[in-house]
């Protein structure tokens, strides 16, 4: 297995603007490539659809985090005020739920926000100390500032360096390069 391992991460093509990138992403899917990823310096409208990305799990994680925060916060206040440390103040009820609402609300928002951010980072696999694409000097210099990239990855079943490179050149990509994965 290991001796046959290729050292290619994929083939990277550079585009001048987001319209070319979207068109290239659509054509690559039509041509039957499956492991294709676009890179842009800002969130490009329509790129997710062009790459066929499905709904992500961040909203679900956020909902779960919010529910845990809210229910946990309310339950905890009940446990503190009525069970663990009951205080009889003029015979008022121990389970005074309206007074628990502000903290319950805050903890709902806190739980949901923490899960949204850390859920997003975890699903994205960040933090990640290094990624093969940064082996490309042009990518490292321009991907987060002014250029757009499409990468056909080596794990694609029909991948070969020559064919992927020819395909990207056919889409008018500039600076088509092979990216090493080490």
């Amino acid at each position: 297995m290991i001796e046959h391992r290729s050292h290619t991460y994929g083939v990277l093509g550079e585009f001048e603007n987001e319209h070319q990138l979207i068109a290239a992403a659509q054509k690559s899917r039509q041509a039957g490539w499956v492991s294709v990823e676009g890179y842009a310096p800002f969130p490009v409208e329509g790129l997710s659809e062009a790459l066929g990305l499905k709904r992500n799990k961040v909203p679900l994680i956020t909902l779960i985090g919010g529910l845990l925060g809210g229910l946990g916060g309310f339950g905890f206040q009940y446990w503190v005020a009525a069970i663990s440390y009951p205080q009889n103040i003029g015979g008022r009820p121990l389970y005074s739920w309206p007074a628990f609402i502000p903290v319950t609300f805050e903890l709902t928002v806190l739980g949901a926000s923490l899960s949204a951010v850390f859920g997003m980072l975890a699903l994205n696999g960040l933090p990640q100390p290094h990624h093969p694409l940064f082996n490309s000097d042009r990518f490292a210099k321009h991907a987060t500032s002014d250029k757009f990239y499409l990468c056909i990855e080596a794990r694609d079943p029909k991948f070969s360096v020559g064919e992927a490179a020819r395909f990207l050149q056919g889409l008018n990509a500039k600076h088509v390069t092979e990216v090493q994965d080490d």
């Binding site: 310096p41 990305l53 961040v58 663990s84 502000p102 926000s113 923490l114 997003m120 994205n124 987060t144």
Partner: protein, 461 residues
Amino acid sequence: MSAGQPPIDSPEIRRLSPVIEPGYTYASVTDKISAIVLTRPASLGWFAGFTLAFTFVMVLTVAIAWLVTKGVGIWGINIPIGWGFAIVNFVWWIGIGHAGTLISAILFLLNQKWRTSINRFAEAMTLFAVACAGMFPLIHTGRPWMAYYMFPYPSTMGIWPQFRSPLIWDVFAVSTYGTVSLLFWFVGLIPDLATLRDRAVGKPKQIIYGMLAMGWRGSARHWHRYQSAYLLLAGLATPLVLSVHTVVSFDFSIAIVPGWHTTIFPPYFVAGAIYSGFAMVLTIAIPLRAAYNLEDFITMRHLENMAKVMLATGLIVAYGYFFEFFLSLYSGNKFDVFLVQQRLHGPYNHFYFALILCNILTPQLLWFQKVRTNIPMLFIMSLVINVGMWLERFVIVVISLTRDFMPSAWGRYSATIWDYATFAGTLGLFTMLLFLFVRVLPAISIAEMRELVAHGSKEHE
């Protein structure tokens, strides 16, 4: 990050003044904003401002050291005026801290494109204001090293906080607000940190920005989840920002003290918070755009829109004052009626009149477009409103506490040099953090400015 055409972007309004001047490309916005951090040397003005602010931070350090040594007796507080400057300043700072998240969250949900070039530093301002605000209740406890008592933790004494108390709600509201504002700000920063990482020259900068950017590479799948998370955070921060000052107003309105015990407090506190927050954003934006030549990004349209928000929230605040006044008289409650008389004729009435002048009368000038587009006037106006909002909290705290139910319990309050030193110190801390911020992080979101450029070119085609 935004879809569809908001009504404010109608052609006639855009012709008047754009949210970004034409002619910018992805590369040129990136260069211009990142250059402030990466290549432009710090100017003499920056060093002068930083040094002045840092001097006041030293004043703060001395004031707190002396406070810890001697106790809260060095302040002007007494019985019955136990709150004084500490709470006035707390409410003032936390109010200022509302604009950042409001601009970022609510204007984002409403699809207002003009938020883009002001949201980043407004969020930073929020964080620094919340840091200053949080300090006051902490040192006001007198024993700040025992402040952890306010958090629920399993103590060997078997005691827990009183969750029915607004002061505990405050702990949760302010700490949640601080945390969520930090998350929101940081998530917005990730793509820009990656830009700085890729453009920085020299190992130390590359390593620091690289660690903060966490390996962001602009992948479409990452952006997909990133946008979900950002939208959700905006949706969560919107009710949160409204809840914070509501909870702060509960500190007052749950009590039975005349002038505090009123149901109008939550909405009028929130409106006041937004009012003072926008005033502070203008106070910062006007010098910032001049110092770093950002007039193309922070245009007249931004300044004018902020002036309009100030006018609108100022009118809500005026409505609040009026109803506070009216309801006291209409209630027939003699303590409430007496408090109104004390505001008008009592020993602190000059504060009340100054408050009306600063917060209600002066901002009416904002009805005129000539005033809204006159930058020096706007700057002065923003300072006047900041002062006015501070006076509002002074009037609420001090007049009510000096004149409650029984004449035998009446008192007088005057701040000492240490009160002023602490307040001036937090102003210095706030300013110093802002000075550092503009030097080490992009003060305008570069990724979102590229989006504006993209939208501009699409409309052009």
